[in-house]
């Protein structure tokens, strides 16, 4: 009897579901990613500005700074505005932090390591990304504050400018691989990464991705200098922490999606085929690619000033959407004249 229960527990602990829920891409991955990336961002941005960045907490290069900040946020009180719509005020950040994690379920970390294998994995990721901006709009409205409301409204504009080119530019990838299934898309890149065949598409996707995850040149909804802190103005304590958490999870999902679509996803040589399980090597490769993407995004944050909302709309409507369409047409011609380029 004891033995059976023990086997049951052991079987559950080593089952794929448990590992996926608690390690990659589950709780441990998300938590560690946020802690490390926030520290890394502060440190790298500091180096871009010729500063030191976090230095004291945790002795080695301030590595525990984020943990200390998180603890501080946990113990702080959050005060809802008197006339706020309480349900929206409390629930929006919670969902804002949890919805982007759903995008991770569609991303293949190895040919078999994927939480929800589906033939329309790309569309699932897009659907989740399209859901996320609704929550800041709700939050901005529920706080009953002008700054949060303006921040929420700006998100609508930003969404319209960013999401259409995001979808259109990925169309080239779908045409080349002949599938919406992310595993097929990755496998179609076994000869060339799609960034080589689709440089224009990759550029458009990358720019609209920055707009969708609200990173710095496009952080118009939270513009600190104009809107206090945009739609997050009224949040404090752990609710504020959750909004930041959601932002970094979006960042992770976005960089993972870019790596999957354009950088060959989990593909990569396994240095010791007999020694390291192939699943492990695949995960290491996609995480490495994600790390490179995150680094690039952080340096971009240090390099560019924020765009105005009309400049973003200009960029989105007059440049990104036409470029994405041109990219689609070019891909069509490419497939027509050189059918062997695609993986399909």
């Amino acid at each position: 009897m004891m033995q059976q229960i023990w086997d049951l527990i052991l079987g559950f602990l080593t089952s794929k579901y448990f590992l996926q829920l608690f390690f990659i891409p589950g709780i441990a991955f998300i938590g560690l990613f946020t802690l490390i990336v926030v520290w890394f961002e502060r440190k790298l941005l500091a180096r871009v500005m010729l500063r030191y960045g976090p230095l004291h907490v945790g002795r080695v290069a301030g590595i525990l700074q984020t943990l200390a900040d998180t603890l501080k946020l946990l113990f702080k009180e959050f005060i809802p505005p008197r006339k706020a719509y309480k349900l929206g005020f409390y629930l929006a950040p919670v969902f804002y932090a949890s919805v982007p994690t759903l995008a991770l379920t569609a991303i293949p970390f190895s040919p078999t390591w994927i939480v929800y294998p589906s033939d329309v994995g790309l569309l699932i990721a897009y659907a989740v990304i399209a859901c996320t901006p609704i929550l800041p709009i709700i939050a901005g409205w529920a706080c009953n504050n002008r700054y949060t409301m303006i921040g929420g409204l700006r998100i609508i504009f930003q969404d319209v400018a960013g999401e259409i080119p995001l979808l259109l530019s990925a169309l080239g990838v779908v045409m080349l691989s002949g599938s919406f299934n992310l595993v097929n898309i990755v496998n179609a890149q076994s000869r060339y990464w799609f960034i080589l065949l689709q440089p224009l598409g990759a550029l458009v996707f990358f720019i609209s991705l920055i707009a969708m995850v609200e990173r710095v040149p496009f952080d118009i909804p939270t513009a600190e200098q104009e809107l206090v802190f945009g739609w997050r103005t009224e949040y404090g304590g752990i609710l504020f922490g959750l909004t930041m958490f959601g932002e970094y999870i979006s960042l992770a999902a976005g960089s993972l999606l870019f790596s999957t679509l354009y950088l060959g996803g989990y593909l990569g040589p396994n240095p010791f085929p007999g020694f390291i399980p192939s699943d492990f090597a695949s995960m290491a490769w996609i995480l490495l690619k994600m790390a490179v993407m995150v680094t690039v995004l952080i340096v971009i944050r240090g390099a560019y000033p924020r765009l105005r909302i009309d400049q973003l709309l200009n960029l989105g409507w007059k440049w990104l959407i036409p470029l994405a369409m041109i990219n689609t047409v070019l891909t069509m011609l490419m497939i027509y004249f050189f059918p062997w380029v695609g993986g399909a």
Binding site: L44, R47, V48, V299, I300, G302, A303, Y304
Partner: protein, 156 residues
């Protein structure tokens, strides 16, 4: 074309900065040398003071009060650094050059009363506060291709 150039240049610059020297000094642990005209705590040379009271009259913030030295009848200035705004009028108007400026700006304390410096305390040499660790003296220098940064004095 210039748009493309202007878009790429900041990115390249930002990337190159990652490998440059850090410009800031770790302040309380490293004390950067100050420019020679830096206005710090004022020092009094008692033996030069002729007790004329010019400093007391010129001080715009009424930070100076003439008080008797301990054990004698000589009047000397007492400065309340809580009121002083470091305009250095007193230093420049002192006919005997008894008041001189120093470079030390680390004079913060936990109570306001301790900022009132009687003449005896004013006469002391400026000294780094005991609360802080002994700092490395550093200087801003351009070192090689990695840009400007702070180097320890004596190890340039």
């Amino acid at each position: 074309m210039s748009t493309v150039k202007n878009t790429i240049r900041p990115l390249v610059l930002a990337f190159s900065h990652v490998f440059r020297r850090v410009f800031t000094a770790k302040y309380p642990y490293e004390a950067p040398s100050r420019p020679s005209r830096c206005r710090g705590r004022i020092m009094l040379r008692i033996e030069r003071c002729i007790s004329c009271g010019t400093c007391e009259k010129i001080c715009p913030n009424i930070a100076i009060k003439m008080v008797k030295l301990k054990g004698s009848d000589k009047l000397c200035p007492q400065i309340d650094f809580g009121r002083c705004m470091f305009c250095y009028f007193c230093v420049s108007y002192c006919p005997a050059e008894a008041l001189i400026g120093t470079e030390l700006v680390e004079i913060s304390v936990y109570s306001k009363e301790k900022l009132i410096y009687p003449p005896e305390k004013l006469a002391e040499e400026p000294k780094w506060p005991d609360l802080l660790p002994k700092p490395k003296r550093v200087k801003l220098r351009v070192v090689g291709r990695r840009g400007a940064g702070h180097v320890e004095i004596g190890r340039e």
